[in-house]
């Protein structure tokens, strides 16, 4: 039996960690990554707040986050000065297509934003993507969820959505034959498969009419998650990619659920039936990856395998405990963001429409921080 050990770390290291930082009243603490400092410019039109006018043109179909409203004189525009200018332009009757349209129709209307977020145009569909919203779920998404309840022939799972997700007994891969009928014993033994509190990785099978998700784990890579920890991040930061299960070279398995639940744990060995206990070195690596995911999330950097690996490379030399400090988090996130931006510029495509959009999910991370 281990006796209580006093830490072999020198006392001065513990003293350093006890130094309390004094923050001035006007000081901004903790300081998070400012994307404007990195040279990312957002055109004024791409980020909107509720009430902002999006367009008066009839060619666009209103999508999510927009509303149609009639234009009255002097109202409907967030900027009062701009509204007055607009009215003056109308009075001057310049040769302008939009003005001609408005003069033709009695009830002029416009599309306005109903949420705060980024404008998004796909062909003729105009919608506003909010910076932070509940995870909605799409078919095929990989999510990580926690079992809340074991009900009759199904599990109710918390997947960070508006409603609890459902995992049917028929949706799990039970040991044995693939196509066997679920018997009564299976129903009674559900807790042996997944009990309350268990973490599970699954795929969204369908979205019900009320918006709740139906999950399935009918694939060898999905299922109950073993040793490791959960990190919760805003769902908007998870970039959709081909695979969400990443086996990092440092011996850590990272599952980036589209619902914002990320799981890091030591990669299990190939030949073991039972999971072996992780070594202290493995735990340290898992702690480092977890810290990297967290520091990227608080600094609004999109999360995918490349960004997490780059953060890991930058943070490899520093002690893991240091990565919980806001100034160190900012330093690492800034370096990662700069590297990602230089890579992105190489692949960037011209922005779409007349709204000054930038392509790439990298910018969505910055937009998220700007909306904040």
């Amino acid at each position: 039996k281990k006796h209580l050990t006093m830490q072999s770390a020198p006392d001065d290291e513990e003293l350093d960690s006890l130094s309390i930082r004094l923050v001035g009243l006007d000081e901004n603490y903790p300081v998070r990554l400012n994307w404007n400092d990195l040279g990312v410019q957002f055109s004024k039109q791409s980020i909107v707040v509720p009430g902002d006018r999006l367009t008066r043109s009839r060619e666009f179909i209103p999508g999510h986050g927009t509303l149609r409203r009639t234009v009255e004189a002097g109202s409907g525009n967030a900027s009062f000065a701009a509204g007055r200018r607009q009215k003056q332009n109308d009075d001057n009757a310049e040769d302008n297509d939009e003005d001609d349209e408005d003069e033709d129709e009695e009830g002029a209307w416009e599309l306005a934003a109903s949420v705060a977020g980024r404008q998004h145009v796909v062909n003729k569909l105009l919608c506003v993507l909010p910076g932070r919203s509940r995870y909605a779920g799409e078919i095929g998404d990989v999510v990580v969820g926690r079992v809340q309840e074991v009900a009759s022939r199904r599990w109710r799972i918390d997947a960070n959505a508006r409603l609890q997700a459902t995992l049917h007994l028929s949706g799990v891969l039970l040991p044995g034959e693939d196509l066997r009928r679920k018997s009564e014993e299976d129903e009674r033994a559900m807790r042996a498969v997944l009990a309350e509190g268990d973490l599970v990785s699954a795929e969204v099978q369908s979205v019900q009419a009320d918006g709740s998700l139906v999950l399935h784990t009918r694939n060898a890579r999905y299922g109950r998650l073993g040793q490791g920890t959960l990190v919760r991040v805003p769902p908007a930061l998870i970039k959709r990619s081909k695979t969400h299960f990443h086996s990092l070279p440092c011996g850590v398995t990272l599952v980036l659920g589209m619902n914002g639940y990320c799981w890091c744990g030591p990669t299990p060995g190939q030949s073991d039936v039972r999971e072996p206990l992780a070594s202290p070195a493995d735990r340290s690596e898992v702690a480092r990856v977890r810290a990297c995911v967290r520091l990227l999330a608080v600094n609004h950097v999109p999360l995918y395998d490349t960004s997490v690996m780059q953060a890991y490379e930058v943070a490899r030399e520093s002690p893991v405990a240091l990565l919980s400090r806001p100034d160190e988090q900012l330093r690492v996130a800034r370096l990662v963001a700069e590297q990602l931006l230089t890579a992105e510029v190489g692949e960037a495509q011209p922005g779409g429409g007349g709204f000054g959009l930038h392509s790439g999910d990298l910018i969505s991370g910055g937009a998220l921080s700007a909306v904040h």
Binding site: L199, A321, S324
Partner: protein, 251 residues
């Protein structure tokens, strides 16, 4: 908190291996930040963030409790004079508000337990005037007691010239949790849910143990509890040094 068995086991084994979930040593505190003088209507106020735990503490002292006695009639004046001659000591009144975290039953339970524990810990402090400590919890990730005591003490030290309290009397609390055979300090929420038992000690700036509280589902052997108390006293003295240095810089 709902946790899976492998997660719980992972946290437990990590602590045994002395590599905590966030990579800290077992006896290391998280980065703390202190902000003073936020609230103008309080005698003193301070905000302390310890990792994700964020507490805003406002300390109010009643200026002159004897004034109400003097307002009584002539029959009361004799009594009032007699009362003023006796040293009156008041307990510290603590209130914890978790409404920023949500309105669910878990948050309410957190607030109620924190209030009960802190009230009981602050019983060691008797003040000449009534003191009200109001704690607003802006974020929670474990170790609420330590953070609240740092904030309350820093705030009061700041207001010392006007305050009737003496600097020596202010206690700082250090919480030591026991997980398996290891003891940890400044546990986060996950570690708190895995801990067997905790010991919180209150120490004044002279190093005198003024309060001791145990809590938890497990049982401790006498030797373990003694060691945890020793660790707590050592950590609380370090906290006293840090807070004193900081307040000295501000003044």
């Amino acid at each position: 908190q709902l946790l899976s068995e492998p997660e719980r086991q992972y946290i437990f084994d990590s602590v045994q291996d002395a590599v905590r979930i966030d990579g800290r040593q077992c006896l290391a505190y998280r980065q703390a930040a202190l902000r003073l003088d936020l609230l103008c209507y309080a005698t003193a106020s301070a905000q302390v963030s310890l990792g994700e735990t964020d507490v805003l503490v406002s300390v109010r002292e009643e200026d002159n409790p004897g004034a109400t006695a003097q307002q009584q009639g002539s029959t009361g004046s004799v009594v009032a004079a007699a009362q003023q001659q006796q040293p009156v000591s008041h307990p510290v009144s603590v209130w914890v508000d978790c409404s920023c975290l949500g309105s669910g039953p878990e948050q309410q339970q957190l607030a109620d337990e924190a209030q009960a524990h802190l009230s009981s810990l602050y019983r060691c402090l008797r003040t000449p005037t009534p003191v009200f400590v109001d704690i607003l919890l802006l974020g929670y990730d474990g170790d609420l007691l330590d953070a609240a005591s740092i904030a309350a003490s820093a705030a009061l030290m700041r207001a010392l010239p006007a305050s009737l309290l003496s600097a020596q009397a202010l206690p700082l609390f250090a919480t030591v949790h026991r997980i398996g055979s290891q003891q940890i300090v400044d546990a986060n929420q996950l570690e708190e849910s895995c801990s067997m038992a905790r010991v919180t000690v209150g120490v004044d700036s002279n190093g005198r143990l003024v309060a001791c509280q145990t809590c938890g589902e497990g049982s401790l052997q006498f030797e373990s509890m003694t060691e945890m108390i020793e660790t707590g006293v050592r950590k609380a003295m370090m906290l006293h040094d840090s807070v004193a240095k900081l307040v000295a810089r501000v003044l």
